[in-house]
């Protein structure tokens, strides 16, 4: 009897393992073309038209001529980079090109937002603003749990104001309740640092930096040190207990004037800097702070997220010369009315992040070319210094008013995501082979570390660095990925293409999401033909290398 049981167990285990393996490695599900409900598409377009009209007003006022519309594949590439952190796969490009609906882009945006890759990718981007990038003290801070929680909220379509309220008013254990890590991220050297939480709260949720008011009144804004302290006092009762993070009712928030002094310090009560009525009447706890931050009349809240999402879509905040979380007060700068329009629409639609993204993706600004007639095919060498300066000054105005799509350096996770995607024909996502997903994960972390993670300030303008150029040109990954391996696109495209023209076109599509120009085709076809048959793989390899190292690959356009 015993023996029979153990055989049965063995069979069960084998069957279980087989079932799991086949589930994990099953081929991708066939995909339908994405689609969205037509009235919703119309409503998004109407909201986008308001933004277009506002930008048109700016252009007329500054005498700026906007660039023409970009082609659909370029826009698809932008969307894929912004929402999934990679370029589109060949599979996606083919399906997109086979879609002949006039408003296909609108449907594709909606479809991309329902993909799990969106929830995961945006969770990481937003987590940077909420808990930073440091792993911190593992015992009381679990960044992975926070990210998993946030990704779940996004996937479940939880309204954004509710997500924010749950973070600010969180209670419990950081392993079980992911949102608690918003608070424990500010735990260091044995205690909570409430001012760190105030700085995060105002930056991430109000889009304003008042942290310098921690030590003195803000040098060029109106923020007072006492206002910073009042906000901080909301977090002043935080305590770690065996039951997790709670507010200890009797704990007082006190500030010592000098760090070494012996007195117990000045008592500070929780207080908001304006519109106290938004807090409600219950008391002055983190729950009321959350209500105040997200209150329907608190315009800063919606402007902050509109500016952040704009920055994630374009690579730069709406006001390019200031950090994404450093906006002036509402109604101060009339040039920022676009953010008010986006914010109002976001509020009117239940703080729906997807709606905000769809509206931005439908604007003329987002669909505009990065080629502008004023600078296209201009030979700078042929101009005098004065003429170049004049051109530059005029063009800066065009760039400032979003009259041309900006060139923005891809962030490291986008570069690696794109390199890996370019070497697979199918989309690398949750339906991918387990091994492919594992490779992507392992390589991404390693590459991002070598490339240099820009951290919390990832939306600030930055130039490339020499170690990055060296990594792209000579790194192990670029060598592995350009090797003609039968499992990677390099090998498969070179092997399967019927003609060199076809091979070159496919390589361009998977790397740059466009077809080669006749001049480019001619150049590489000649290389191909000049090479003896046995060496032709090296031409494909070098072509990949060229595409990976081109500015077009590394810069969003």
């Amino acid at each position: 009897m015993k023996r029979q049981w153990s055989i049965l167990w063995a069979i069960l285990v084998v069957v279980g393992v087989l079932a799991l393996t086949s589930a994990a490695t099953r081929p991708p599900k066939p995909r339908d073309l994405p689609s969205s409900d037509p009235p919703q598409v119309t409503s998004v377009q109407t909201a986008a038209a308001q933004v277009d009209a506002e930008l048109a007003r700016l252009w007329a006022e500054r005498e700026v001529t906007p660039a023409p519309v970009a082609d659909d594949l370029t826009i698809l590439r932008r969307l894929s980079l912004a929402l999934h952190g990679t370029i589109p796969s060949l599979e996606e490009i083919r399906r997109f090109e086979a879609d002949d609906r006039a408003d296909r882009l609108d449907h594709w945006v909606a479809g991309m937002l329902e993909d799990q890759r969106f929830a995961d990718y945006f969770a990481e981007r937003l987590a940077r603003a909420y808990v930073g990038v440091e792993e911190g003290q593992f015992v009381i801070f679990r960044r992975d749990r926070f990210k998993a929680w946030l990704s779940g909220q996004l996937a479940d379509h939880v309204p954004y104001d509710q997500i924010v309220r749950e973070m600010i008013a969180a209670e419990g254990v950081w392993t079980g309740d992911g949102e608690v890590n918003f608070l424990t991220a500010a735990f260091a050297n044995g205690s909570f640092d409430p001012s760190k939480l105030t700085a995060r709260t105002t930056r991430a949720f109000l889009g304003q930096r008042i942290d310098c008011a921690q030590c003195h009144d803000h040098p060029f804004d109106h923020w007072k040190q006492s206002e910073f302290e009042g906000l901080t006092a909301f977090y002043g009762k935080l305590a770690l207990t065996p039951a997790g993070v709670v507010d200890r009712k009797k704990k007082q928030y006190r500030i010592k004037e000098a760090e070494e002094s012996d007195d117990e310090g000045r008592l500070v009560e929780p207080a908001v800097p304006f519109s106290d009525e938004w807090c409600g009447d219950e008391g002055r706890t983190r729950f009321e702070l959350a209500a105040w931050i997200t209150h329907a009349e608190n315009q800063r809240f919606e402007r902050a997220i509109a500016n952040r999402v704009w920055a994630l879509m374009f690579g730069e905040p709406f006001r390019q010369d200031r950090p994404v979380d450093d906006l002036p007060d509402p109604d101060v700068d009339p040039d920022l009315r676009t953010l008010d329009l986006l914010g109002a629409d976001f509020r009117a639609h239940d703080c729906d992040l997807r709606r905000l993204i769809r509206v931005i993706a439908s604007t003329q600004a987002f669909r505009m070319s990065s080629v502008h007639p004023e600078t296209a095919n201009v030979d700078l060498e042929a101009l005098s210094d004065r003429e170049v300066d004049e051109l530059r000054t005029r063009f800066e105005l065009t760039e400032e008013t979003w009259g041309v799509f900006p060139l923005v350096r891809l962030r490291p996770e986008q570069v690696i995501g794109s390199m890996l995607q370019a070497t697979y024909i199918h989309t690398v996502d949750q339906n991918s082979h387990l091994l492919t997903r594992f490779l992507r994960f392992a390589r991404e972390n390693n590459f991002v570390e070598q490339f240099g993670d820009p951290g919390v300030d990832e939306l600030q303008e930055r130039v490339g660095t020499i170690p990055q150029a060296l990594l792209r040109m000579n790194g192990n990954l670029s060598r592995e990925l350009t090797e003609p391996n039968p499992f990677l696109a390099t090998g498969r495209i070179a092997g399967a293409a019927s003609t060199p023209e076809k091979m070159i076109e496919t390589a361009y599509l998977v790397c740059l999401t466009r077809r080669p120009t006749p001049q480019e085709t001619e150049f590489f076809v000649k290389l191909w033909n000049d090479e003896p048959r046995r060496n032709r793989n090296s031409v494909a390899q070098d072509l990949y290398w060229d595409l990976f190292n081109s500015p077009e690959f590394s810069w969003n356009h």
């Binding site: 003290q137 700085a199 760090e259 570390e449």
Partner: protein, 439 residues
């Protein structure tokens, strides 16, 4: 773009030009060698900074601040050194020979007891602050003392470990992050092209073709990205003779043995070569000081790596007349508790720890500060902020102000951060006792 294709091609054949030039004896065509010979020696030479980073937190009691009288002194015996006032642990015999060139501070004080925060503070001289990322001291040196003759990275981190211990450029920009080499002398990461010269030439020509359509259409924008500039600099680096400074092929076996067969040992040797070349800012990391368990064995093993490498570095710099133009600082994020925990380990201790500093014309043989392990043990239940500081406490900021002023920089000079906030290079004042003429 128009220029770049040709420029790239020129870069590729540069090596051939150099070979030709060398054959003809036309040395002025050899920028790498010229740079090397242009570097003066002695005190007229601009000063470089080498930081030996003791990652994880070196136990000061088991190295620069032995206390055999305490219960938890743990069999460490103090030995006399060539500096009359300074005694160090018997596990550092070669360093004992070199101490006449160096000074010891035993009373550094920090508020940061976490590795990452402590590292940030000790590398930058500023506490972590959400509004700004401060540059590490080595990044400031690389930026303010850039050597125009150097084609390879100006700020190098050797034998790197945890990501956060690699010094960063902070608000100076990513281009001032240290260039990282994990295994010095063995692997100059990503510096060598993947294919032979002929094929590299083909690749660069193809790259020119792929880039040109894109760039022509966006003349001003692409220029502003500096993409081509950066690629060109990278290519220059790849073909530069100065890369030899990162390799150890022309060092004798005896020399390599002297420094020790470890990543740290090779790192110290490469650091010497970089300084000789004229690189101003180098960090060499020695990992593994975080001895929460079996402290004595752990620290002893670390000393065995540190001792020959540090001592050989000092000796070689002195022998080569580079000591007056090189500051060497040996420091980590904090020290370790003056008592043992239940696992015979020592935990983090930012309230009174040691560093060793010398060279660059700093006074040597100076001993600053004193810790009191018995008192610290008595106060072990007190929160960190209420512990008694060691005698003659020294701020990390003051140490950096001292180093900066020896480098010829003004520590009070302010740089404007990208958000318009002025910040001093170091928020402290120089320690007079370490400066020439100081008491």
């Amino acid at each position: 773009m128009h220029r770049s294709v040709h420029h790239w091609l020129r870069q590729v054949s540069r090596r051939e030009v150099l070979q030709l030039a060398a054959g003809l004896g036309v040395s002025y065509l050899l920028p790498g060698l010229e740079a090397r010979s242009a570097e003066r020696r002695g005190s007229e030479r601009p000063t470089s900074l080498i930081t030996l980073w003791m990652a994880g937190g070196q136990s000061h009691l088991d190295s620069w601040d032995p206390h055999p009288e305490t219960e938890h002194g743990g069999g460490i015996q103090p030995i006399k050194t060539t500096a009359p006032e300074i005694q160090i642990a018997h596990t550092l015999p070669q360093m004992a020979e070199q101490m006449r060139h160096l000074s010891v501070i035993r009373s550094l004080v920090s508020k940061e007891g976490d590795h990452q925060r402590g590292t940030y503070f000790v590398q930058t001289g500023y506490r972590p602050d959400p509004t700004t990322i401060h540059p590490a001291m080595t990044a400031l040196v690389a930026r303010l003392m850039t050597n125009p003759n150097i084609e390879i990275p100006q700020h190098v981190a050797l034998a790197t470990g945890d990501n956060f211990s690699v010094p960063r450029g902070g608000y100076l920009g990513d281009q001032y992050d240290a260039f990282r080499i994990f295994d010095p002398g063995n692997n100059i990461r990503n510096m060598r092209r993947q294919v032979d010269e002929k094929r590299q030439e083909r690749r660069l020509e193809g790259l020119g073709i792929v880039s040109s359509a894109f760039s022509k259409q966006r003349a001003l924008q692409v220029e502003a990205t500096l993409h081509e500039h950066v690629v060109q600099q990278a290519l220059t680096m790849m073909t530069s003779d100065q890369l030899q400074a990162l390799e150890l092929d022309d060092e004798t076996e005896e020399t390599k043995q002297r420094y020790g067969d470890s990543r740290f040992g090779r790192g110290c040797l490469v650091a010497r070569r970089l300084v000789e070349l004229g690189v101003r800012a180098v960090q060499v990391t020695l990992q593994g000081f975080d001895t929460h368990i079996n402290n004595f064995e752990g620290q002893k093993a670390q000393s065995e790596i540190l001792d020959p490498a540090f001592a050989s570095l000092v000796q070689d710099l002195v022998d080569r007349d580079l000591w007056d133009s090189t500051i060497v600082l040996c420091i980590g994020e904090f020290g370790r508790t003056p008592w043992l925990n239940v696992n015979a380990g020592r935990d983090h201790w930012p309230v009174g720890f040691s560093c060793v500093v010398g060279g660059g014309g700093l006074n040597s043989g100076v001993l600053i500060g004193a810790t009191n392990p018995e008192l610290a043990y008595g106060e072990r239940q007190r929160p960190q902020a209420e512990k008694t500081h060691p005698a003659d406490p020294i701020k990390v900021q003051d140490l950096y102000a001292t180093i900066l002023s020896r480098l010829g920089l003004n520590p009070a000079e302010e740089l404007i951060t990208p958000i318009g906030r002025p910040l001093a290079l170091a928020d402290g004042s120089p320690i007079a006792r370490l400066l020439p003429g100081g008491a």
